[in-house]
């Protein structure tokens, strides 16, 4: 287990170095002159903004919650040899459905409204993941392309629904009414809502599903060797659809959690990068639930601390994206890391990826 973490840890370390170099190089723009100490200031602020106080830690957890859930969504797809780039769209549809039901159930007590809104989000995500799964299984339309397209369809659906039928009254811009009864209760600090618990519970559940259940065994077998799975009596077609749907379900839950727990409404032009960050989380976590938990916490901490970094060090929050991309780069080009550190650690590669790309050009339906 520890050995699995060596390469990711080194990739993170290298990314921090690269980030520092970028900051130093751009320090004249930040400070007016070259400032070698800028990275220290920035990383210090990042750290204290994410772990420096109880509020900071809670904020880290809040930021990590959707990343972990959506990261699990992408990760479970990887396990089945599927690349779900559509976590973004499923996240949005989950958020939209949760908001719609959340607004509609304003008259109900929270004990009824919250589960209903969550259920709606989960169901919407499930359905939105089902579509590309079905298309892949029966027509061979590759999930990478269909999910990218569905991400943009989701944006338009939200724009339509929220600027039309669901538009709230007396709001300054196109958004739904504020969710009241279905809002997730805050348990700790300023914004530590109960959704954090969902993510923390989802990790062992998905781990159990993948590694302790027969369904998970089937999912993993299809991802590792679809032919062997077929001979062993599994049904790759059904499993493809089911995995995509479960993946969508998790992403939908992530969306519902954010809308019900943090945002409190959904705007017509809802901008988020969670679905894409989730890919980074799943890759960094090697698509293992526990790895995803840590990767989600790391990226959540970066998001949480980035505000303070901008205030204290003048480093724009987009530095977080740069760091994420560079981490992924070093994970992917792990030969660089191996060369630099002369390590013979276990590869961080996700072996099921082979199943994914090899099918891109064939356009073949699942057998």
């Amino acid at each position: 287990m520890v050995r699995l973490g060596i390469l990711p840890a080194m990739a993170i370390l290298l990314a921090l170095v690269v980030g520092a170099l970028v900051m130093i190089a751009s320090s004249p723009l930040v400070r007016g002159s070259l400032d070698l100490g800028l990275p220290l200031t920035a990383y210090g602020a990042l750290l204290s903004g994410s772990f420096g106080s109880v509020d900071a830690i809670i904020n880290t957890l809040v930021q990590a919650t959707p990343l972990i859930l959506a990261g699990l969504a992408v990760g479970i797809g990887f396990k089945a040899g599927l690349f779900n780039i559509g976590a973004q769209g499923q996240f949005l549809m989950g958020g939209l459905a949760a908001a719609a039901v959340g607004v509609a159930t304003a008259g109900l007590p929270p004990i009824a409204a919250i589960p209903l809104a969550l259920l709606a989000g989960v169901a919407a995500g499930f359905a939105y993941g089902f579509i590309p799964g079905f298309l892949k299984a029966f027509t061979g339309a590759h999930e990478v392309v269909t999910t990218i397209m569905l991400n943009y369809v989701a944006i338009q659906i939200i724009a339509y629904v929220v600027s039309g039928p669901l538009r709230g009254e007396n709001v300054s811009f196109a958004r739904t009414e504020t969710i009241t009864s279905a809002a997730l209760p805050v348990l700790a600090g300023r914004n530590g809502h109960i959704g954090i618990a969902f993510a923390l519970v989802a990790v062992p559940i998905i781990a159990w599903l993948l590694f302790r259940s027969t369904l998970g065994f089937e999912i993993r077998t299809v991802g590792a060797n679809p032919e062997a799975a077929r001979y062993a009596g599994m049904r790759p077609r059904l499993l493809t659809i089911l995995t995509m749907a479960i993946s969508g379900l998790l992403a939908g839950l992530a969306g519902a959690t954010v809308i019900l727990g943090t945002v409190g409404h959904i705007p017509a032009a809802y901008a988020t990068g969670v679905g894409f960050d989730a890919i980074a989380v799943a890759l960094l976590g090697r698509s293992h639930p526990v790895g995803i938990l840590f990767a989600g916490l790391l990226f959540g901490a970066m998001r949480a601390g980035s505000g303070l970094m901008q205030i204290q060090a003048g480093i724009p929050v987009q530095m977080v994206n740069v760091l994420q991309a560079v981490i992924l780069f070093f994970l992917t080009a792990e030969l660089i890391v191996r060369y630099l550190f002369r390590v013979r650690a276990e590869s961080a590669e996700i072996s099921e990826l082979k199943t994914i790309t090899s099918s891109y050009g064939t356009g073949q339906a699942v057998k």
Binding site: L29, V30, L135, T139
Partner: protein, 362 residues
Amino acid sequence: MIELLYDIPILGFLFQFVGYLIEVLPIIAPTIIGAATPIALGAMCGFMNERSGVVNIGIEGMMLTAAFVAWWVASLTAQVLPGDPIGPMGMSPALLVGLVAAIAAAMLVSLVHAWLSITVRADQIISGVIINIFAVGITGYLNLLISRSAPPSAGQFRAWDAPAFLADIPVVGWLFDALLSQGPIGLSLLVAVIVMQVLLFRSRWGLRTRAVGEHPEAAETVGIDVIALRYRNVILGGVFAGLAGAYLTIEFGNSFQGEMTNGRGFIALAALIFGRWTPLGSFGAALLFTASEGIQRAVRFGPPEGALGDFLSSVPSQFYSALPYLITIIILAGVVGRSIAPAADGRPYSREKREKRAKASA
């Protein structure tokens, strides 16, 4: 007479719609073409990649990087070099330097994509994801830092004054006018589409590219260097992503905003698929995609009369926006006219299997 056609049930609706299109297309054509240009250029980048067997979902990031670099470098240059145009279409030194820098930047990003996809043989989709995340980060980061000092804009390219006689051609003159009344990048797209289409099917480069994208092993056995050809094509593809990005910040507009590509790189991917991996096809697809938004705008400002107008006005504008994506899914699923990727698309090629093993034991 025409009224008669319009009165036919259902079909008459269609006739009315066609009549409406004929009426409004000349008016909205410049908007459609302007919006289609970056998408078609992005698709050309994808074309260069995928025809040689490398999937590229990082077009969006490449475009965004180029958009930023074009604007930034042009702005920096404008502060040192005189801003007066030295050529037609408002070609000032600053804009030209910006354009070259944008192309170079996109080629550099393409080189990274090529290295990860071809040499490292990493998953090509992940490589694209990395590029997209990085582009959002680095351009957003630098943009915020730079805009603190509010740098001057270097302006933008101007449209070419198309010869009047072309615009005066009856029936299709408006089309010539709309296509040719563009800046240098828009015009370069027209040239590129035609040239690349011809090259793909008529030149040695095109033949070899198609062979490598379909069956690299067969190409290798007749002595074609698969790895080199893929590298070259992927890097050259960067030129188009560079043009696409630069178009947004120094031709269509004159400023940069974070994440301003706004999904155009992904529509480019859709256009590529819809256009069946050909330059002409993707250009057509890009036009079709943006036409749906153009028509939506036309309907908003001047809907046709009668029931058709009511119907068109009642279709939500978001439906028009989503249409390109929906069409792509339908095409890909083969419901109507299946579109199939080059057979070796996304599959890293390895000579190793044969040669390295042989050499290791030699």
